[in-house]
């Protein structure tokens, strides 16, 4: 691997410049991807190792980012354990959501080689072709459980929360099942060649700290413990989770991902200094003029590089409306602006 500054930052080691990558860097913001999507659905791409590797590599070539992330969807391991889903315009839709203990008991064990051989093959191709680290990933238990219980995206997660409060036995049975699935899925990706892992908890910001600590943290701790023997860095990311940072820190990941709502200096105060941070430009900013993007990026880098262990990213995924040229320019700016500033 030629460029390991992303991995060094994950480990809070000195870097030459601030590493940068973008959540959802492969996707509809790229003309080439939109062309491919005229012929293939998202799920068809993930089933096709050559094509999936191509889509994964594209933004690395075009934007000169310091990491690739496997092109996939957080729902991918959910179908093999027994909950088939469709990806529609508004997000994934599950026809038979989890409603009872029996529904949880019916879920299958997850087997990486049997269930997702094409993911293994994709990662194997990428390991040979990439000159930057490959990030494997999984959805986090709360976010996956919310899709599985609500049957799709939800604004208020009412069914999910009600299950937590009314039926903690069903909730924790589902958490246990997801814990095993997620650990096996992440292990499988590292065994195939992934150099780092990110766990996406996109919806967990809907919970109070009280509920996070009670219903989610124990499972997150066991997952991060369960992947610690893999010896690759892991990133724990959430949206709207500024208030949860002290608890997420307890879960034990190497890097905490933060969104644009919390200034990095505050995130550092809450998370402590013995964890790296990743973030946190509002991806909506990328739809505005370059001057506004640059102003905000300077503030983020100035705060981020106050100590080793900082990765520049967005606070959430790239919006489809984003111009890819802006992403290229931003990655370049992050490298250039930080080059004279980072602590060696």
């Amino acid at each position: 691997m030629k460029n390991d500054r992303f991995l060094r930052a994950c480990r809070r080691e000195p870097v030459d410049v601030t590493p940068v990558w973008f959540m959802r860097q492969a996707g509809r913001s790229q003309a080439e991807y939109r062309e491919i999507r005229k012929q293939y659905t998202l799920i068809e791409i993930t089933h096709n190792p050559e094509l999936c590797a191509e889509v994964t590599i594209l933004p690395v070539k075009q934007y000169d980012v310091d990491a690739a992330i496997l092109f996939s969807d957080i729902m991918v391991p959910i179908a093999p354990i027994g909950l088939p889903f469709d990806i529609r315009a508004g997000g994934p839709v599950i026809e038979t959501p989890i409603r009872s203990k029996a529904d949880v008991d019916k879920l299958h064990d997850f087997d990486m080689e049997q269930d997702l051989p094409y993911v293994i093959q994709t990662i194997q191709i990428l390991s040979k072709e990439l000159h930057v680290p490959l990030i494997g990933f999984s959805g986090a238990p709360f976010t996956l459980a919310s899709y599985m219980i609500e049957g799709g995206p939800s604004r208020n997660h009412l069914k999910t929360k009600t299950m937590m409060y009314e039926h903690p036995d069903i909730w924790f049975a589902l958490m246990d099942r997801l814990e095993k699935t997620i650990i096996t899925y992440l292990e499988g990706q590292v065994n195939a060649g992934a150099d780092a892992l990110q766990i996406f908890d996109s919806w967990v910001g809907a919970l109070s700290p009280f509920d996070y600590e009670t219903y989610v943290l124990p499972t997150m701790k066991r997952i991060i413990q369960g992947i610690s023997h893999l010896a690759v860095p892991n990133i724990h990311f959430g949206v709207g989770t500024g208030e949860l940072l002290p608890l997420m820190k307890q879960a034990g990941s190497d890097v905490l991902g933060v969104d644009w709502r919390v200034p990095l200096a505050d995130a550092r105060k809450r998370a402590g200094h013995d964890v790296a941070l990743q973030g946190n430009l509002d991806p909506a900013t990328l739809l505005g003029p370059w001057q506004e993007i640059e102003r905000r990026t300077r503030v983020i880098i100035d705060q981020g590089i106050q100590q080793p262990g900082f990765i520049f990213n967005l606070g959430h995924g790239v919006y489809p409306e984003t111009n890819g040229e802006i992403l290229r320019k931003l990655a370049h700016f992050v490298h250039e602006y930080s080059s004279n500033k980072v602590r060696q």
Copy 2:
């Protein structure tokens, strides 16, 4: 007025027990309201002073809460200034959203007596009938602007944010127009008899502190300055705004409303001790068992009453699925549990 403990808490004066009311306490969680809605739309109710007063009073009688809030919708003053809207299942829909400076310039001046005489009449009825304070309210400029620009509810507020970044001239022209409208609307409610005011910024938690300070705070400051001569307390409420509390504090309101994501003790640290707090039970908790509601309520009250100036509320509006009996029980519990604890 027999019961003024809500107003005393707003002013950080000693109270006998912690005052409590619930955002959206009048609404679909009440069987009587659901009956009324079989005959009248929400907008028809707001146009009918006798009926609207009845709906406003109902939860005060049933739940024994310490304040009434005018039954209305944050969009009510938007139609008179020139943007007609429909209330549909997913929220308000505006047929001709704001897209240009010309669209802003076309907006009319707002005149309370001419435009909303039925709101004045409703408040006049309520002033006579209520034995608790009546809270008048308005949407805040960002939240109203988001509806006006997006044309309805939005997950990511992309059109709104893009207008802020690309066309600050249009954005600030709209902010100025909303500032005048909101001040006039709130004045009109107090002149008719409202005893307190709440400004709802339901969506502003989507902004980074950087953007809040640049695009929203100046207008919020002028609004709160503009209603200060009215000599009634005002509450500034947002959802997901824990990170914005230090800035919202600068806007100058008497009370800051906080949602369930931020523990009250943290909110106090960020907002300072010279402002009252209102909140912050997750309304989803009300769909769970009483034991869980009570556990969380104790924690909130224990933190809230550490100093004068605390009003118990939810962190957002009551969900329609909520059992009214639970709201009654909760109001009673807040009074009982706090009675031996509050500082005299």
